[in-house]
Subunit: 215 residues, 2 copies
Amino acid sequence: MAVDEGEMGAGAGRSERKRQAVLAAATQTFLKSGYLGANMDEIAASSGVSKQTVYKHFGSKEALFIEIVTSMTGAADIRVHTAPADPETAEALRQFLFDYAYRQLKVVMTPALMQLRRLVIGEVSRFPDLARVLYERGPQRAMTVLSGIFGRLDARGLLNCPEPQLAATTFNWLAMAEPVNRAMLLGDGELPTDAQLRAVATEAVRVFLAAYGRS
Amino acid sequence: MAVDEGEMGAGAGRSERKRQAVLAAATQTFLKSGYLGANMDEIAASSGVSKQTVYKHFGSKEALFIEIVTSMTGAADIRVHTAPADPETAEALRQFLFDYAYRQLKVVMTPALMQLRRLVIGEVSRFPDLARVLYERGPQRAMTVLSGIFGRLDARGLLNCPEPQLAATTFNWLAMAEPVNRAMLLGDGELPTDAQLRAVATEAVRVFLAAYGRS
């Protein structure tokens, strides 16, 4: 195969722009039509490239969808896991937990991420890798980060959680379970308002600290 | 239309048997092939009736699937909501909560119910009614029953939950969230063992009573 123009100079920028255009168009198409319903011709047409270019960049329909799942969950992960996590007092801990839960809810409870989650759940038996990527980038990533934080807070006497991973699992789902599962089954008409997200985060923190707090 | 043989005498039993045969075959087919993939010809063939008979009993593919969702969730509901719920001491309350959570996990965490849940989630945008039936018969039903129980326990001073519905939501997801969401995304290879279900139920009760118990 000849050296692709995308591999050097100005061509590299053009190639990357094409890649991003395909990714954006494909995201829309998959979210609208589902995995099986998504059409590679339609994705090529709506991103203004040839179908050959789509395959050159992404290899296959499955690889393209995995890239979308990776990209969307990666973007969400970066937005959730930002704050420095080193509360030193009980009050700072409460605030940290509230901020974390509220931020996670704000980032995750969006029509696009909820629809992505529905899509990959619907395809678990055919394409288990898609759902595994979503699980690892979503709940598992959150629980791993929290587990590390909770382990340090336990060592410093701010939490009482000899099994930080269990505490992280509990906290993650105290905040996320009801809104996510409601949206999964009842659709985007049931996405919570900002006030509801704050109430969920507040109660999650209260219940969590009653079970794992000190004092 | 002529009077159907199924409407009288021995014919009624035969008609009901045919209906049950179609329902059983259709359940297998939908769980295996998904909603769009399920084929009415195949369902008729594997239940040993004509396609006309399938439509006579169930009207349409969507109505047949709603009947399956209703039937499977109804059967699960009956198995979960059996025990008389009138604990009179803190220890009896703890035992009641454990038994409830463990029973609910045992009934719900099965390959068939998890696959049904994946299916309807995957079809939410096309067939919102299917998912609504599952939500109402599943989590919502559990939370309504628990809310009634928790309200009485609050009035009798065994729980401290002025908002029993909130407490019911918390307890339901403390037990169900991690196993259900893990199975949704990671498939039936991740269904918990009996020992894991007991551990989840035990921790759910501990966290719940720390936040909503008296003492």
